[in-house]
């Protein structure tokens, strides 16, 4: 039996390697600019800046993780046939714990894709500092600053402190993900322990594992603890970036290169001007409209008067009644003139 299990593992590993190599060969043959069907983003970092091969490798992390999962599940299945661990809860726990790693690979993989951007940036930053001969003199946050480089030292201390804080919070975040691992395994164990539960294939087992892990993750992600740590992580990362930007701007100013703050300032003014222009246009349009409305009203009045005047003209001349008090012809003429005068 042990030989059978070993043979199986050898065969499986050969398959897994073959599969992985095939994917890599396929994707490496892609022409630059062709769409990557597994396009995955990174947290605020331009993917274009990364080497193509590295991007492809990370894009395929999901399938590779699944390959690892299959390997562990198959190993567990092979061993399960030998030792009947289901009769022993501790042994079952040991079997299930084999599934921890793939979850970490996926979740931490997404996170490290984003965190990679940060660390990559930091490394470039530190290298640049070293090249500029500044790293050797970089003060710790506890050291008092003085001299002509005092302001620069203060900036560096602030940046160091921010990076330190980010690292600490990132560790707290990773610890939460580790908790999800444990809780997910526990949920999977519960699912497998349900009366009559049968798992007939590796894929069925995989789907069950995904369900368990996602349930555990959702519970964690909606907890107060996760909310606090996630918020702190985002804030800490932004603090580091902000300080880096400030430092870069300082260097740009010294070199006479336009800075982002200046561009922002210009953009803000342009947008404000556009708003004012649009508002002015609306006011003018409203004024125009009210002028047109006034003219319309005046025309309507004139039309009514004209109609009344025409009616008066075609009105049959009434013969003065005997002893009546009708207007004289001269009086009618005056009335007509008066109406005509109004039209002016």
């Amino acid at each position: 039996m042990p030989d059978q299990a070993n043979d199986f593992m050898k065969d499986y590993q050969a398959f897994a390697q073959q599969s992985w190599d095939a994917w890599m060969r396929y994707l490496q043959q892609q022409q630059p600019g062709q769409p990557n069907p597994f396009g995955m983003g990174m947290m605020g970092m331009g993917a274009a800046a990364m080497p193509q091969e590295d991007l492809l490798t990370r894009s395929l992390a999901s399938l590779k993780a699944y390959g690892n999962w299959l390997q562990q599940a198959a190993t567990g299945a092979a061993l399960g046939q030998q030792t009947h661990p289901w009769q022993q809860p501790a042994a079952m726990q040991s079997f299930l714990s084999a599934f921890t790693q793939p979850f970490q690979q996926t979740v931490a993989g997404i996170d490290s894709a984003s965190a990679f951007g940060m660390e990559h940036q930091w490394q470039s930053w530190l290298q640049a500092m070293q090249q500029a001969g500044m790293a050797a003199g970089m003060p710790t946050s506890q050291v008092a600053t003085f001299g002509i480089t005092r302001e620069f030292q203060l900036d560096q201390q602030a940046l160091q402190a921010a990076m330190q804080e980010y690292t600490q919070i990132s560790a707290r975040y990773q610890a939460l993900l580790q908790k999800v691992n444990a809780q997910g395994i526990s949920k999977l164990q519960e699912m497998l322990g349900q009366p009559g539960k049968q798992v007939e294939s590796l894929k069925a087992m995989y789907d069950l594992w995904v369900d368990a892990m996602e349930d555990a993750y959702a519970e964690m992600a909606l907890s107060q603890e996760y909310r606090d740590v996630f918020g702190a992580l985002v804030n800490a990362q932004m603090q580091v970036r902000k300080l880096q930007q400030q430092h870069t701007e300082q260097m740009c100013r010294e070199l006479g290169i336009p800075t982002r703050s200046e561009v922002n300032s210009l953009g803000k003014r342009v947008q404000q001007l556009r708003r004012e222009l649009k508002e002015r246009g609306q006011v003018e349009a409203t004024t125009d409209t009210s002028l047109v409305d006034t003219l319309h009203a005046e025309i309507a009045t004139l039309k009514r008067e004209l109609a009344a005047s025409k009616a008066a003209k075609v009105h049959p001349i009434e013969r003065p009644a005997k002893g009546g008090n009708s207007k004289t012809p001269s009086q009618r003429t005056k009335a007509t003139r008066s109406a005509a005068g109004k039209r002016k």
Binding site: G44, A74, A77, W86, T106, L222, Q239
Partner: protein, 355 residues
């Protein structure tokens, strides 16, 4: 404890072998497929301003509806989810029903749009887009169909410009942003959004995508691609898959100021239902929305939980309120087979009875 795992090593080996075979055979199908097109329904631009375009969608028949409907999409992702492909298109289905459909395509903000506020979007772009459609039809008021954040925008717009909206349809629209099951909302509560926007400027699309993927990390980053192997030998399904992938990652950046306001005022302070929301100089009171409202939500929506949408009924001013529960998710409500059969006819029937 019984052994629930009934797979012997040979069976496991066979399963892996099948997986491997599918993978190898499918690679050739993946090669040369290239970029998949979407948005194939004929259309004509009727209004453009900066990066915004209002499209008039053209069906095979003349519309029978007298009042056109303007689709207001979210600023995240693109409006082409409503017209992904010929047999999965809310737009085509609405046109087939006889509706006259217009779409707002917000475009892709860049540094020049960094300072656009919600006031610029709603009382500026959206208002002028509505005016353009009204003028095109010589109508005082048109129908609005708001989707997700675009639904929230449509509600705000209707409250501020009620005379220009005849009927309002909202789809998977968040109204109460603080329901306990709203993961996105939960995550941003402790975020310093001022520091965030001041640092990043416009919010990169990659970051938005990352956040959405983290809502269900295993399903969206691994299980989905594992399942892809099962369709590698089916070119048509593969194209559908790639088209959807294109849409998912074809995301615009978010204009910084508008993002700041949306997170603060809506997600963190939930002002839309608290009643003290103001866009620009105008107060937004949902009680002012007295037009007929059709509110469609998805029962399995992981982005906008049903309770977040259903809250509308308690806050809207209209006496003509209809609610439709769609059995599916946030995306399935546009692209699933069920959606093709149910959603457009429901919207059309509702609009027709109020024309």
């Amino acid at each position: 404890m019984q052994n629930p795992f009934h797979i012997d090593p040979q069976q496991a080996f066979n399963e892996i072998a099948v997986f491997q075979r599918k993978l190898a055979a499918g690679l050739q199908n993946l090669r040369g497929l290239g970029e998949q097109d979407y948005a194939n329904t004929p259309r004509e631009a009727v209004y453009r301003e900066d990066k915004l375009t209002v499209w008039h969608m053209k069906g095979n028949h003349k519309p029978t509806a007298r009042v056109p409907v303007l689709v207001v999409y979210a600023l995240v992702n693109t409006v082409w989810m409503t017209d992904l492909q010929e047999d999965r298109s809310l737009v085509r289905n609405l046109l087939e029903q006889g509706e006259d459909v217009y779409l707002i395509d917000w475009g892709y903000p860049d540094g020049a749009d960094r300072w656009l506020t919600l006031d610029d979007y709603l009382n500026g772009y959206l208002d002028r887009a509505v005016d353009a459609v009204r003028q095109h039809h010589d109508l005082d008021a048109i129908n609005l169909l708001g989707i997700c954040q675009g639904g929230t925008f449509s509600l705000c717009y209707t409250a501020m410009h009620p005379e220009k909206v005849k009927n309002l349809v909202t789809m998977v629209t968040p109204v109460d942003f603080r329901t306990p099951d709203n993961m996105l909302s939960h995550w941003v509560q402790s975020m310093d959004v001022d520091l965030f926007v001041d640092t990043l400027g416009n919010i990169p699309a990659e970051l938005m995508n990352w956040v959405y993927l983290m809502l269900k990390p295993l399903r969206l980053n691994q299980q989905k691609y594992v399942s892809l192997v099962d369709i590698l030998d089916n070119p048509q399904e593969l194209k559908n898959f790639l088209r959807m992938e294109r849409w998912i990652f074809d995301s615009p950046d978010q204009a910084g100021e508008a993002f700041r306001e949306f997170i603060k005022e809506f997600f963190q302070q939930n002002k839309l239902i608290q009643g003290d929301l103001q866009i620009g100089k105008q107060p937004v009171d949902l009680g002012m929305v007295t037009q007929p409202v059709l509110n469609i939500y998805a029962t399995q929506d992981h982005l906008v939980p049903p309770d977040a949408s259903r809250a509308l009924q308690r806050h809207v001013g209209t006496t003509d309120y209809t609610e439709v529960a769609f059995k599916g998710g946030h995306i399935g409500i546009y692209v699933s087979g069920r959606a093709q059969r149910e959603v457009a006819p429901a919207i059309h029937q509702w609009l027709r009875s109020r024309s």
